[in-house]
Structures are given as structure tokens and as C-alpha cells.
């Protein structure tokens, strides 16, 4: 009986042996999974983390890649150069950002925060997948001015002895992904892992909305009510944006940036830009897609007094009498600004886990 059963098993084994090479023995430990926790009052994220499960090693690799100037042609400009933590990952004080060789861009650096919820990226929504986002700044000639393929080549030849802080990327990729192979999928997924951890949900507003009524002063409460009435049709929900593209009545500047139109080619999309989240708005000056307004007060003055009428102006800015703008008194504006400042998340901008590991630059 045993003979009958045993014989075919031996045959199968001998057949397999000839066609397969033995698997290498993996001695290194598996990466440690990270439990990504959704803030209770936030909606479900858009990013599918099952495709790219977060690990401590992957997030850490992503943090190094985020800050390291090696991503740029000059090895000087990292993501963190124009997305500085102290300013909620914007380019503090810069209307437009300067990349490699001080070349100037045409749009204001947006906050890198809560990206897990973004259905599209950039002011024009030209990129729809977080994993595809970094190709844009890396390859934009006035941002990092580099080719991703060349970044991969450079990463493979690390550690570089004369680097600001020598980093052994092949070793880090091995820890995060099991082997030293560096390719664009791994590079982008590591960057995504880190960026997915950049969650801002611990502002004064968040404490208030979660039940701590003492967190808000009277003016801030008034501001919240006014905000809900006057602003929240676009800056809606807990992310403070509906992620739509709208023309908010800005007079086009010299560069005549037509926003969303560049992506869709649809006439009705001319001069439309993405409604930005207002989280950390108090930290992300200057404002608008071209950084034209220095303060939140100037922004509110725009909405009350300076809406420029054009064919694609969002109808929400047209009042019943045909005039444009949102009716706001000076006192109301002050209350709204007071409320907006409650969206500043001090924990987020000081979180050591999100900070430069010593490879970054800021100009």
C-alpha cells in the first residue's frame, strides 16, 4: 500500500528538482507593519493601502527620500525644500517656489498633508494617484529638474562618502522591500508610505469638534458658524475641501495660468483651480495658487470685494443682485480668521517622525 502511494510522490519530486532552482534563504527579518489609524471624524481614505501596506522600514525610507536632495539634478533640492514642516509642508514665505538653480515655478507650493484623502493632486488635479505624484516635481525642469531613472541610478550608488549625511539606500530598500533592488515602483511606494503618515488631525478645532467645548473662545465659535454659512459649500467636511476645481475670481497674472483647462482641454475649465484644504491655513501663507495674498485677511477681502468676473467664474460668487462676492463685514472676517487659526496643528508641524532626518535643505 505504501509503495503505491509513495512512488508517484517520488516521481513528482524528481521532476520538480530538475526544473527549479532553490530559493535563497532569507535571513533578514520581515519589515514591521505600521497600523495606520484613521482619525475618527475623518472620512475613509481614498488611497488603497492594501496595495502598499505601510511598514516602519518603508515609511522611514520614504522620509529619507522625501528630504534628500538626491532626487534633484543638483542634489540640492528635496521635496522638503519647498514643503517645510514648520509651515505645514509649504514653502514658507514664498509666493512661488525656486527649484534647481533658483529657477522659479508658476504656482504656490501646496501643503503636503492628509494626502490619503486626495482624489487628485496639484492645483490642476493633473495627477490622480499618490504613487505617480513624485514624477511631477522630480521631472519638472524648474523644480528638481531630474529624471527618475537617474535618481534610481544615483540611489543605487549610495552611500556617497562626501554626502551631507551618507545614506545607504540599497540597504534601506532591502529592509523595506526584502531585496536591494531599487526601481520606480519601490521608490514611489516608499514616498507614498511616508506621505500617508502625514496626517494633520490634532488642531484646536479637532479637539472642539470631538467634544471639548472649552477648546474654542467665543470669537472662534462665531467664526465657525460664519464659516459654515459662507465658506463651507466649497471648503466642506473635515478636510475642508470638496476637492472640486473652481474659478474663484482671481485676475489672471502675467503667466496667464489657466489651471484645470491645461489638463482637460475643456473651455469651461479655464482658470479653475483646486479648492485647497484649509487645515493649517494659519501656517501656509502666502495664499492662492500663485501666492498673491500674504494674509488670511487679504484672502477674505478678496472674497468680499475683489472677485473678478469672467466666463467661468463659479456661480457661487454671484449674488442675487448680479454683483459678485461674498457679503462679509469686517467683524465677521475677524471671526472667520480667528476660526481658521484653530485649524493649525502644532503636533503635526512638530512631529519628529515627520521631520528631516538630516539629509534635507531649506532655502
Amino acid at each position: 500500500m505504501l509503495m503505491w502511494l509513495g512512488f508517484p510522490i517520488i516521481v513528482i519530486f524528481s521532476c520538480k528538482k530538475e526544473t527549479e532552482t532553490p530559493e535563497p534563504i532569507i535571513e533578514d527579518k520581515e519589515p514591521t507593519p505600521v497600523t495606520w489609524i484613521k482619525p475618527a471624524h475623518f472620512p475613509d481614505p481614498v488611497y488603497d493601502m492594501s496595495r502598499n501596506p505601510l511598514t516602519e522600514e518603508g515609511v522611514e525610507l520614504g522620509r529619507f527620500l522625501f528630504y534628500d536632495g538626491i532626487l534633484s539634478r543638483t542634489n540640492q533640492i528635496g521635496c522638503g525644500t519647498c514643503h517645510q514642516q514648520v509651515a505645514a509642508f509649504t514653502h514658507h514665505g514664498h509666493e512661488l517656489s525656486h527649484g534647481v538653480d533658483d529657477l522659479l515655478g508658476t504656482r504656490n507650493s501646496p501643503a503636503v498633508q492628509n494626502l490619503a484623502w486626495n482624489p487628485s493632486f496639484f492645483w490642476d488635479g493633473g495627477v490622480h494617484d499618490l504613487d505617480l505624484l513624485p514624477f511631477n516635481p522630480i521631472e519638472n525642469p524648474v523644480e528638481m529638474g531630474e529624471k527618475v531613472q537617474n535618481v534610481i541610478t544615483k540611489l543605487k550608488s549610495t552611500p556617497v562618502a562626501n554626502a551631507k549625511k551618507p545614506v545607504d539606500y540599497p540597504a534601506m530598500f532591502k529592509k523595506a522591500f526584502g531585496t536591494e533592488e531599487i526601481n520606480s515602483e519601490r521608490m514611489m511606494k516608499a514616498l507614498s508610505q511616508f506621505m500617508l503618515t502625514m496626517v494633520s488631525a490634532n488642531s484646536k478645532y479637532d479637539y472642539y469638534v470631538k467634544g471639548d467645548v472649552t477648546a474654542f473662545k467665543a470669537q472662534e465659535k462665531e467664526g465657525l458658524v460664519l464659516f459654515k454659512n459662507k465658506c463651507s459649500s466649497c471648503h466642506s467636511g473635515e478636510l475642508f475641501t470638496d476637492f472640486s476645481f473652481r474659478n474663484n475670481g482671481l485676475v489672471p497674472i502675467k503667466v496667464n495660468d489657466q489651471g484645470r483647462f491645461a489638463v482637460t482641454g475643456t473651455e469651461t475649465d479655464k482658470y479653475k483651480f483646486k479648492v485647497p484644504s484649509l487645515r493649517n491655513a494659519g501656517l501656509t501663507a502666502p495664499y492662492m495658487h500663485d501666492g498673491r495674498y500674504r494674509t488670511l485677511e487679504e484672502v477674505l477681502d478678496h472674497y468680499s470685494d475683489s472677485i473678478h468676473s469672467s466666463a467661468t467664474l463659479d456661480p457661487i460668487f454671484i449674488k442675487s443682485d448680479g454683483k459678485t462676492g461674498i457679503a462679509l463685514t469686517a467683524a465677521e472676517k475677524q471671526s472667520i480668521v480667528a476660526f481658521l487659526r484653530t485649524l493649525s496643528d502644532e503636533q503635526f508641524v512638530k512631529d519628529a517622525k515627520l521631520s528631516d532626518p538630516g539629509v534635507g535643505t531649506s532655502f
Binding site: 500500500m1 503505491w4 502511494l5 512512488f7 508517484p8 510522490i9 516521481v11 513528482i12 521532476c15 520538480k16 526544473t19 488603497d48 496595495r51 482624489p119 487628485s120 496639484f122 490642476d124 488635479g125 493633473g126 495627477v127 490622480h128 494617484d129 504613487d131 505617480l132 514624477f135 511631477n136 522630480i138 521631472e139 519638472n140 529624471k147 527618475v148 531613472q149 535618481v151 534610481i152 526601481n183 520606480s184 515602483e185 521608490m187 514611489m188 511606494k189 484645470r260 491645461a262 489638463v263 482637460t264 482641454g265 475643456t266 475649465d269
Partner: protein, 270 residues
């Protein structure tokens, strides 16, 4: 006991057959699938295309010299005269033809069932599904950070450039005397855009591509870059349209209608 014995006998017989077939999979078999090669031979009118080579003339009488000519071929189907077809598996069906890379001009399809093929169908460009797929589905020529020659991908507006034709002309209106045609747009991710993918169907007429166990036929296609200028979609003038990229959707559609007609069968080596 008898039934147990019978069961074991069947088990043995079954395992033995399984073992045989598992072993024979790795051996070449007389009825196993073979291959077919599609050559994309780029020409200008009746002349071979030579990058930075001799000057040519379009329908507007404008002189031009092509310096770059790349395009994506995807979603290949081999057609049979009985109306059936062999579809190349999706993951193996994306190719980037580059005039400056001879090897890229020969699409070597493997595991093609033995038989006679009467035509071929393919897409110029990258279909919307693959254009919006996650990064792990973007390998080889589709890897935006891979070996893709000098950018057949719009990083700022996630999408592939289906056809890139650049060159010089005395009629160019640009500062450097060059013209640039970068045609892409797959239909849009969430907002509809124009769709410049084009399906090309070429019947081989009286010719056949006969795939046998021993023979890999070579289907020699001519791809006429002049048709990008002179076509049914539009007659493209360098002076009037020096540069067409993603911002001139209507014009890019006309050019796509042109490149849909630039492929012809020259001959088949069986």
C-alpha cells in the same frame, strides 16, 4: 479493501499522468505555440526615415527633417481568416517603437498558436485602463521612471505620449527652428478629454503569416512618418502649427486621425 485498492490505483494512474504532463511542459513539443515578428519599418514617403537625414517636403511644400520619431503600439491581436483571432496577453502587449533604437522596431511575439494569420490589429497609444492603472502595472516601456526614452510620459498630467515626432524646418516658428508634435490623451481620468488612442487593422490580403513549430514569420510593416503631416485627418502645416502637445486637443485629434493611417503591409517572410 478492493475499493481502497481501486482508489489507490486511480490515484497512482492520475498522479503518473500528472507527472508526465508536468515534465513534458518544459520540453518543446511538435504542436507547441511558436512566434511571429512584427517589424515596424519607419519611412518618409518612398524613402527610408533617417533621423537628422535628408530633407523632405510635406503637402504644404514645407521642408522638414525628422530628429525624433517614437510611438507606442499596444493591444495586439493576430487575425485569422475565419474571423477568430489570437489576442496577445495584456501584460505582454505594450511596445515602444523608437527610430533611434533598431531593436525596438521588431516586436517579437511569443507563444503564438500554430496556424495561418490573415491580418493584425493593434492600438497606437496606451489604452485608458493601463493609462490609469497603479504603478505596479507600469513595467518595462510603461515605467514612467524606467528605461523610457526621454519622456513618453506627462508627469504633470499623468498620461503617456502616444506619438512623439520632432524635427527641424525652415518654416518652424520656434526660437530654435524645431517643430514638436507630442500626441497623447487617453480620454481622461475623471473628466473627459479627447481620446487619441487609435485602433489600426491591417488585412494581409492574399498573403498569410504562417506560424509553424519551426518558422517564425516576419510581418514587415511600413510606417510612413509623412502621413503624420499629410493625412485624412488634416494637412498639418509646420508654419501654422509648430507645436502640438496636450493643449491643442482638437488639433491633436486630427493628427491622431493621420497616424492611424500611417501603417501599411509591405511583405511577409514566411
Amino acid at each position: 479493501m478492493k475499493s481502497l485498492f481501486t482508489f489507490c490505483a486511480y490515484l497512482f494512474a492520475g498522479a503518473f499522468i500528472l507527472t508526465l504532463s508536468a515534465c513534458s511542459d518544459s520540453e518543446p513539443s511538435p504542436t507547441a505555440a511558436s512566434g511571429i515578428t512584427l517589424e515596424f519599418d519607419n519611412v518618409v514617403g518612398d524613402k527610408n526615415l533617417v533621423l537628422s537625414g535628408p530633407s523632405n517636403t510635406n503637402a504644404f511644400g514645407e521642408d522638414f527633417v525628422i530628429t525624433k520619431f517614437n510611438y507606442f503600439i499596444s493591444n495586439i491581436k493576430l487575425l485569422r481568416s475565419d474571423g477568430t483571432s489570437h489576442v496577445i496577453p495584456q501584460d505582454s502587449s505594450y511596445f515602444l517603437i523608437q527610430e533611434d533604437n533598431k531593436e525596438s522596431q521588431f516586436i517579437k511575439l511569443k507563444n503564438v498558436p500554430v496556424g495561418d494569420y490573415s491580418g493584425v490589429e493593434f492600438m497606437v497609444g496606451v489604452d485608458s485602463l493601463r493609462s490609469t492603472s497603479p504603478i505596479e502595472k507600469r513595467k518595462g516601456v510603461l515605467d514612467p521612471g524606467g528605461t523610457m526614452e526621454d519622456g513618453m510620459y506627462w508627469a504633470w498630467n499623468s498620461g503617456y505620449i502616444f506619438l512623439k515626432m520632432e524635427g527641424t524646418s525652415s518654416k518652424a516658428t520656434s526660437a530654435n527652428g524645431k517643430f514638436y508634435y507630442h500626441i497623447g490623451l487617453f480620454g481622461g481620468f475623471d473628466t473627459k478629454t479627447v481620446n487619441n488612442t487609435r485602433i489600426v487593422k491591417l488585412e494581409f490580403g492574399s498573403s498569410k503569416a504562417s506560424v509553424t513549430a519551426e518558422e517564425v514569420p516576419e510581418v514587415h510593416l511600413l510606417v510612413d512618418a509623412l502621413k503624420v503631416f499629410n493625412g485624412p485627418g488634416t494637412n498639418l502645416s509646420i508654419a501654422q502649427n509648430n507645436t502640438v502637445m496636450s493643449q491643442q486637443a482638437a488639433k491633436s485629434q486630427e493628427i491622431a486621425n493621420n497616424y492611424a493611417k500611417m501603417f501599411t503591409l509591405d511583405h511577409i517572410h514566411n
